[in-house]
């Protein structure tokens, strides 16, 4: 290994592991001591990464309180050093960290709040696309509707919660006390960018969720109806339900396009 590579490895070892082997390669230049010069870089590294997580997960921070949030930051930075050139991705593994690391792992809501905040970030700068309008659907011959395949807007993301994660996030945003973390049965959420470019989130019923998931899997309208028909008295009621979901989705901008199977 050349001198340049050795120096760079020693520098990274300083930042990543606190290994001060680099000291022997640094000129003594009073009034600062060599260790103080190295600490400037060590501190900058910590401050920069902590700042990113504080910004991306502000509400999780309110939920945890200062002490636990600081513990989380310290442990996450040590466990999951940044592997991306952009700081935008640095917190991507935070939900995973919270699920597997005590004391956070004892509270499943924490990973869910973190996941929700990651999804908000992804929806914020997902690809742009046009949004589907009702007249576009109406222009399709009714006989072709069973074959139509709806395309979700690129900003649409899904989250299933076993705890009151989104409700707690919302309460804290509004400076209210979060509700009890425990809920009966899963809560389903759809996150998408609105026409104003603000990121919105919407609760879905289990049936709406099933319907949108079928659409997300690329199923044609007939199969989307089929996927929920068992929940209704007859096929027509099932189809009407799916159409109500389409209306909601079109109103909210969840669809970007429609095309016909075999077209």
């Amino acid at each position: 290994m050349g001198d340049l590579a050795s120096l760079q490895n020693a520098f990274i070892a300083l930042l990543q592991q606190g290994n001060t082997g680099l000291m022997q390669d640094i000129e003594d230049q009073p009034p600062l001591q060599v260790n103080q010069r190295l600490e400037i870089y060590q501190n900058a590294y910590q401050i920069r990464l902590r700042g990113v997580l504080e910004q991306d997960h502000e509400t999780l921070g309110f939920y945890l309180g200062d002490d636990l949030f600081n513990l989380m930051l310290t442990q996450y930075i040590a466990s999951f050093p940044s592997q991306s050139r952009s700081l935008r991705q640095f917190g991507d593994r935070l939900p995973e960290f919270l699920r597997m690391t005590a004391p956070f792992s004892a509270h499943g809501i924490l990973a869910e709040i973190a996941e929700f905040e990651r999804i908000l970030l992804r929806a914020f700068d997902s690809a742009d696309a046009t949004t589907l309008s009702w007249p576009q659907l109406q222009a399709i011959d009714i006989g072709q509707w069973p074959n139509m395949i709806l395309v979700l807007h690129p900003s649409v993301h899904f989250l299933t919660c076993d705890y009151a994660a989104v409700e707690s996030w919302q309460a804290l945003k509004e400076k209210n006390v979060p509700p009890n973390a425990d809920i009966k049965g899963p809560h389903y959420w759809l996150v998408a960018r609105e026409a104003t470019l603000r990121t919105g989130f919407h609760p879905l019923t289990a049936l709406q969720w099933q319907c949108i998931q079928s659409i997300a899997q690329g199923m044609p309208f007939s199969m989307v109806c089929q996927s929920v028909v068992g929940e209704f008295e007859d096929e027509q009621a099932g189809s009407m339900f799916v159409i109500s979901v389409l209306q909601l989705g079109i109103q909210q901008g969840w669809f970007s396009d429609v095309h016909l199977l075999h077209a």
Binding site: G2, D3, L4, A5, L7, Q8, N9, F11, I12, L15, Q16, Q24, D25, I26, E27, Q29, P31, L32, V34, Q36, R37, L38, I40, Y41, A44, Y45, R48, L49, P81, S82, Q83, S84, R85, S86, L87, R88, A123, F124, D125, S126, A127, D128, A129, P154, S155, R193, L197
Partner: protein
């Protein structure tokens, strides 16, 4: 490569997006952080697409890690190239430093030693990057807090040599020169005097935090008097060079940054006509 004189610009930051679009302030050009636009859409591109219709844009990267001894990261370069195609900037810059090694990213601008090995390494990498991007790159001097024992030339000798070997031009950050000069006890003016004048494509002016024993380059304060003085003296030696205020934190009202730009214009008014 000869870059045009764009006048007096500013780093484009999200907190000023709406005001820039609604008020069209008298700023000659904007510099964007390249990596902030490595995303597909949403607000960043919504605002930038409107602003770039009205103002020239240059791109400034912070993550190329041109000095790293790792192989070049072509995933990064692909994203950069595609962003360049979308933005169509007047020029593209990054920093003379390393920031990543292996899978580890420091997200900092870590200094290079000033050695023949580093010079040859940078020469080769700059050529590879420019070939891949199919355009010349401009590189910025970074501020530093340590000096490697291995360095046997000064930073300004190193830059002059690099320019001689590659022909690459520099984004000269005068605040960084001042910060490093104070931190390493050299003359900032000696540094500036030694930089080949034809190599300077752009100038950054910024603020810092002064702790007396050392300075930290924070970009969260107004440009200090000492940096203004360096800029004023140095500008008299130069043809007109595109100059901008770089503010990254503790953002003041836009009018304060416009006042700093006016000050830069006033200092160069007589010789950069």
């Amino acid at each position: 490569m000869s870059v045009p004189f764009l006048g007096f610009g500013m780093g484009l930051r999200t907190c000023y997006f709406e005001q820039i679009i609604s008020e069209r302030p008298a700023i000659d050009w904007f510099e964007i952080i390249s990596e902030n636009y490595f995303v597909s859409g949403g607000k960043p591109w919504h605002y930038l697409s409107q602003i770039k219709e009205q103002y020239p844009i240059v791109m400034h990267g912070v993550s190329m890690s041109i000095g790293s001894t790792d192989p070049l990261n072509f995933d990064y370069l692909r994203q950069l190239k595609s962003t360049i195609e979308r933005v169509n900037p007047v020029w593209v810059s990054d920093h003379l430093c390393f920031s990543a090694l292996g899978e580890f990213n420091s997200h900092d601008l870590l200094p290079m030693p000033y050695t023949e090995e580093a010079l040859n390494h940078l020469t080769q990498r700059i050529s590879q990057v420019q070939d891949y991007l199919e355009r010349p790159m401009i590189f910025e001097n970074v501020s530093s807090y340590l000096t490697y024992k291995q360095s046997y030339m000064t930073e300004w000798e190193f830059l002059a040599q690099l320019h001689a070997q590659t022909g690459c031009q520099f984004l000269l950050d005068i605040n960084n020169v001042y910060v490093s000069a104070r931190n390493h006890n050299f003359s900032a003016m000696e540094y500036l005097n030694a930089i080949p004048k034809r190599s300077i494509a752009q100038i950054h002016l910024a603020g810092h935090k002064d702790f007396d024993s050392h300075i930290i380059d924070t970009h969260d304060e107004p440009v200090c008097d000492a940096v203004w003085s360096l800029f004023s003296q140095f500008s008299q030696q130069l043809p007109a060079v595109s100059t901008m205020i770089e503010r990254d934190d503790n953002f003041p009202p836009l009018v304060d940054l416009l006042a700093e730009l006016d000050h830069a214009k006033a200092l160069t008014h007589d010789h950069w006509r």
